[in-house]
């Protein structure tokens, strides 16, 4: 029995190590990055997130500059996105799963797809975000946690041969942030809420890319 067990495990371990070695040998050095071309044009804007307000400024720039790396730096690893009103509507449509388990990886993937669909200097699409960065009386800020509430306006334009179809997402987002020693301030919870007079909000737009 013991012999059978050893052969059993060793064969499997050997097979796995062999496959991994083959993968390793067939790849180029995984720890060297590609070289880059010298830049043209504009570049991204990012400040060290030493205050909660700077995180939102970084988020705004990342969105308008379509810079997914800078966008990801605004989110903590335990990030959650929530849109209660839109979730209820999605449940009404029988499509509630769209808002389930919306964590940092999901948010990054969705935003990256949006950036890729609305690239900078495109002839066929345009997307522009405005966030009112001024302080809100309902903001709360402690030594290591903060809640900032901001209204936004996201303009989405799809150009066709004859016309330009414009959609505007309007609403209010509540950002719960926390400070960590190494990465500074980042967003733990982003709750989105539509404007009373405009049914289409940021969460609706993002949900289309999930």
């Amino acid at each position: 029995m013991d012999m059978r067990k050893n052969v059993y495990v060793e064969l499997l371990a050997f097979g796995l190590i062999l496959s991994l070695s083959a993968v390793l040998l067939s790849c180029k050095n995984p720890f060297s990055h590609r070289s880059s071309e010298p830049p043209i044009g504009s570049s991204g804007t990012y400040e060290v997130p030493s205050t909660p307000q700077i995180v939102l400024t970084n988020l705004l720039y990342a969105y308008n500059e379509k810079n997914i790396n800078n966008f990801r730096k605004c989110l903590s690893d335990s990030f959650i996105f929530s849109a209660y009103e839109d979730s209820v509507e999605a449940e009404q449509r029988g499509e509630g799963w769209v808002f389930y388990d919306w964590n940092a990886d999901v948010e990054e993937a969705i935003t990256r797809r949006i950036f890729q669909s609305y690239p900078l200097n495109s002839d066929s699409t345009e997307m522009s975000l405005i966030i009112d960065l001024s302080s809100n009386p309902l903001d709360q800020e402690n030594d290591s946690t903060a809640t900032l509430i901001r209204t936004y306006n996201l303009l989405i334009i799809n150009f066709t041969e004859e016309t330009a179809e414009t959609t505007t997402a309007i609403g209010e987002s509540s950002f719960n942030l926390s400070r960590s020693s190494l990465i500074g301030w980042s967003i733990d919870l982003w709750s989105d809420r539509p404007d009373e007079n405009n049914d289409f909000d940021w969460a609706d737009f993002k949900a289309l890319y999930r």
Binding site: K5, Y8, V9, L12, A13, L16, I17, L20, V23, L24, C27, P30, F31, H33, R34, S36, E37, P39, G41, S43, G44, E47, V48, S50, I68, N69, N70, Y84, E85, V88, E91, Q92, R93, G94, E95, R112, R113, Q116, S117, P119, S135, P137, Q140, N142, I156, T160, E165, G171, E172, S181, L182, I183, G184, R193, P194, D195, E196, F205, L208, R210
Partner: protein, 628 residues
């Protein structure tokens, strides 16, 4: 307002019920592990009620019963909403189950469930009843079949939609004792919701195998897969069309742990995920909302190899490890510009060593590169690599049973490299250094002092801007000191005092033969507090607390003075913001028994700041948790 009073009354009633229940004659002796919790929470923007009840009853014989219910109601005041009115949110669900076992092999159950979500005028109500027959012909096979009915009502601003139908489910679990496995389980699940408008069905298959050996070796595999179809409405309008989703999800995981000669141990694991979603719509006119644009599939793979060895050098025990991870994914969307492929490689390692009985050191390091690729004709300018280096070091020294020091050092470097010229101007390195020593001193049986320091520097340098005077290169520096003292005045009175000071500055980083900082602002925080825990009796704790935070921020600039002889620069430092925050709170905690308590908390926060003005926040919370 009527609704407010209704909930207020309901809350008071449930609270009183929960407090009185254990002392009344209606407590049920046969209840097993039943719990009741309720929380009322109020601040300047919201009122919130949470309640849950879990009740389980078993008659030792053939009948058992359970009730599980949750309710959360939130009133959001108009001040928090964009130009709106007060808004109610309610989520509630309740499930009651009755199970009757004819014998150990055969039983039946009936489940009733009710769930609702309410948001203003929008309401979703779902009711379901299902009867399940449970058959377990032997130890390695169990079969369930469920049949029931369901009604779903969706009411919104655009009208009301009602749907009803039949629910069916088949579940089979096969648990044979073969291959000498510790666990070998195959599960098959088929669900069918035959609604009139939006039916759905799914079939799931999963298998799990685990075998452990006395030597510590083990092998495990897990597979789960689901295929299904579902219809859903294209919008919230009453006359909305119907969309279809077809999904396929497959997940495979495997892990082998094997002890090798010379005290080595190897762990190899892998995870492969494949998801595919296809959508069909009967209305394809929308440019943004065309559901078929969401068609996608994604294959991701992750392989991990770890080699460990525990050994001794000069009688010092050392644990070491080295690891390698490679992973990646490929996406395929209906719209190609959304696609992204990625590859990742990570090399890591570390050790922990007990140098003496009083000294121990541990270190971990990781270096990795993640590459992202895109279809060349669409989004190739998003092609990028992220190179990372992480080092963590910890040193612990126990000087005596009264004195201990801990020292932590952390280094991180993220190098972001966009490959193409359209975005490569943003290529940068982000370095962080952190050094944090800590002293823990037990002065006596009743006084403990903790002193913590932290120094951090964060540099961001752009690859193509090293020698540009007006570059975006930046440095952020931070130091922090915190002193905490815990004093046990008596068995009934404990107190803690804390004081902290934080210094931060930020500015441009200029390269002139060496890096120099041009400070643009600095900030100083003084924070602290004092709190007491007073126990008038064993069950009751009274905890008043006061804390403060004073923040000051200065901006730096230069004033240029031109005279006929010379030009001089005067550095200016101007106070640009000040904010004082004070928090006073009182908490009362009454413990009926372990993990059963009634808590009251009231808190007032006052903020005075140049930018934020005067703000006052009040918070009130009451919560109750009881077992019966």
């Amino acid at each position: 307002m009527k609704r407010y009073f209704y909930y207020n009354l309901l809350f008071k009633f449930t609270l009183a019920f929960a407090i009185l229940l254990p002392y009344s004659n209606i407590s049920v002796k046969s209840a097993e592990g039943s719990t009741f919790t309720t929380v009322f929470d109020q601040d300047n923007q919201t009122y919130r009620w949470d309640g849950s009840l879990l009740y389980e009853y078993s008659s030792r014989g053939k009948l058992s019963f359970s009730l599980d219910s949750k309710l959360q109601s939130t009133l959001i005041k108009r001040s928090l909403l964009v130009g709106g009115n007060n808004q109610w949110q309610e989520d509630g669900k309740a499930k009651a189950s009755i199970l009757y076992s004819f014998n150990p092999r055969l039983g039946i159950s009936v489940d009733f469930s009710e769930a609702y979500n309410v948001l203003g005028n929008q309401k979703i109500l779902q009711s379901e009843i299902i009867g399940v027959s449970k058959y377990k012909p032997n130890q390695w096979l169990s079969l369930d079949y469920g049949l029931g009915g369901a009604v779903s009502t969706r009411r919104g601003q655009m009208g009301k939609k009602r749907d009803r139908g039949i629910n069916m489910s088949w579940n089979g679990i096969l648990n044979p004792k073969i291959l000498n496995a510790d666990i070998f389980r195959i599960t098959l699940n088929i669900d069918e919701e035959i609604y009139r408008n939006i039916p759905s069905n799914s079939i799931s298959l999963s298998g799990f195998f685990l075998k452990s050996f006395q030597s510590g070796d083990s092998i495990s595999f897990n597979y789960s897969g689901t295929s299904g179809k579902k219809k859903f409405y294209s919008s919230s309008y009453t006359l909305a069309g119907i969309n279809n989703q077809e999904k396929n999800e497959h997940n495979f995981e495997g892990t082998i742990v094997k002890n090798l000669p010379l005290n080595f141990e190897i762990e190899a694991s892998s995870e492969i995920l494949f998801n595919s979603y296809r959508y069909r719509a009967n209305d394809t006119s929308a440019v943004i909302g065309d559901v078929s644009n969401r068609d996608n599939s994604r294959l991701s793979e992750d392989y991990y190899l770890k080699l460990k060895r525990n050994f001794k050098i000069f009688n010092m025990p050392i644990d070491t490890y080295a690891s390698y991870r490679t992973s990646g994914y490929n996406e395929n969307f209906a719209q190609d510009e959304r696609d992204e492929n990625s590859a990742y490689g990570e090399l890591g390692g570390g050790f922990s060593i007990a140098l003496t009985n009083h000294d121990s050191v541990s270190t971990d390091f990781f270096t990795s590169v993640r590459s992202f690729y895109h279809p060349a004709q669409y989004s190739h300018q998003n092609d990028r690599d992220v190179e990372s280096e992480i080092l963590n070091m910890n040193y612990l020294r126990i000087w005596s049973k009264y004195l201990m020091t801990r020292t932590h050092f952390n280094y991180r470097n993220f190098h972001q490299i966009y490959i193409y010229k359209e975005a490569s101007a943003d290529n940068n390195r982000n370095y962080t250094y952190l050094f944090a020593p800590e002293i823990i001193w037990i002065v006596s049986n009743w006084i403990t002092v903790n002193q913590y320091f932290e120094i951090q520097a964060n540099y961001i340098t752009y690859d193509y801007e090293k020698n540009i005077l007006s570059s975006r290169n930046r440095i952020f520096r931070r130091s922090y000191s915190r002193t905490e003292m815990a004093i046990s005045v008596s068995d009934n009175l404990k107190t803690h005092i804390e004081y902290g000071y934080r210094y931060e500055d930020y500015g441009q980083l200029i390269f002139d033969e060496q890096w120099k900082q041009l400070t643009s602002w600095d900030r100083r925080n003084n924070l602290g507090g004092v709190g007491f825990d007073y126990y008038p009796s064993k069950q009751l704790k009274i905890s008043p607390e006061y804390s403060f935070e004073y923040k000051r921020e200065w901006t730096h600039s230069e004033e240029e003075s031109i005279t006929s002889a010379d030009t001089t620069f005067t550095k200016l430092r101007v106070l640009s913001d000040r904010q004082d925050q004070r928090i006073i709170s009182l908490e009362l905690n009454y413990e009926f028994a372990e993990l059963q308590n009634l808590t009251f908390l009231i808190q007032r926060r006052i903020i005075n700041g140049w930018r934020r003005g005067h703000i006052r926040d009040d918070i009130f919370t009451v919560s109750l948790r009881r077992f019966f």
